[in-house]
Homo-oligomer: 223 residues x 2
């Protein structure tokens, strides 16, 4: 039932639904109405019904959603059952943090191997993931199917490494380098972690909060 | 001219405009039409005009936007001129990566100090930022204005530390702990870095790409 083209906004809400449904499951909730789900997520119930209607019909009028069933549908939409294999290139602070702390398996992704150039990390195991010398990257890409590469190398070599990945058939790059990669959409999907976007949104909302508090204080002082 | 409540979607696009305008400035572009800006960002020109109209009038009909001027307006909207001060709590891999690689100053934020418990990092300087023992946190919060705390401690103590920050007047938390903090909106603004949301969106788009390629290959095989 998947339609040709679902808007990016809808896609971006799917992981949020997943997190909320996991939370509901953990709290022992079996069934939830679109109204209540919306209330908890700051969305309207019609927005929620519209989002899911892009992929089929998951609820039953008047009965709400089965939490486990809806969670399964969303996991399927997000490709969590596709056994995507992942490598990580660049075991600096961010790369190491992702290996040690990010639970790829929980989302159905398999972290196969990591790569770096520094002798002090090459050959080591981090949380069960072997770090190889970058010179072995080509060989691994030729002998294994790799769907996604986590790119956490220094900025200066980001595009060079991205080019090598794409030329060896990697179809998706999760980009932590903070630069825009010179990779076309037809070559690979690039998903950027933009820390600055997140901090600047925080700055906006903090400014709004401080302004509101200052206005309230000024009003009180006048009374 | 700021209106009472601008939608979250509009706010989230502001940092993207900022990045694009910085890119245009670096490329020597002085002026750009909403049509061309939209084309480069995958938005419609009416969407762009609507976004900016939430904050005032930045362009002139028929003349487009002055790149430097618009960049300044957006920086102002995002609070980049408010001199927000920042501390970082938890100098593990992620914390260290943010200190070493994220350019807070570039966005107008000042990273004052970092905190940890481990003797091997306490007392050290990382890229000019001093790491203090966590026991000094309370004292610093009482003697300095701290607007934002970067929270990059282990999950298990995340809520405990968040509570201490809020109780000492920190109004915003940039949360890297991957758990939902038990902090109410009236206490502090919490902005989460959700790595999983980003990876799952990547998984969706990769699945879509692979399906399209498989369909094209099947079609060709039948011909």
């Amino acid at each position: 039932m998947k339609q040709a083209k679902v808007s990016n906004n809808v896609i971006r809400r799917m992981p949020r639904y997943l997190r909320k449904l996991d939370e509901l499951k953990a709290a022992g909730v079996d069934r939830i109405s679109s109204f209540e789900l919306g209330r908890q997520m700051g969305l309207t119930s019609s927005q929620i019904r519209q989002d899911f209607s892009c992929f089929g019909e998951f609820g039953q009028q008047g009965y709400g959603y089965n939490v486990t069933g809806l969670r399964g549908e969303i996991a399927g939409i997000l490709g969590m059952n596709r056994d995507f294999s992942v490598i990580l290139v660049g075991v600096g602070n961010i790369g190491r943090a992702m290996i040690e702390n990010f639970c790829f398996e929980q989302y159905g992704f398999h972290l196969l191997a990591a790569f770096d150039v520094r002798p002090e990390v090459v050959g080591s195991d981090i949380s069960g993931v072997r770090v190889h010398d970058i010179s072995e990257l080509k060989n691994l890409l030729e002998t294994h199917r790799v769907d996604i590469a986590v790119l956490s190398v220094p900025k200066l070599i980001a595009n060079k490494v991205a080019r090598e990945l794409v030329e060896h058939g990697v179809k998706a790059i999760w980009n932590f380098t903070n630069i825009e990669l010179d990779v076309s959409e037809s070559e690979a999907i690039v998903e950027n972690i933009h820390f600055s976007d997140s901090l600047l949104a925080l700055g906006y909302y903090l400014g709004e909060k401080l302004d509101a508090e200052a206005a309230a204080a000024a009003k009180q002082a006048r009374q």
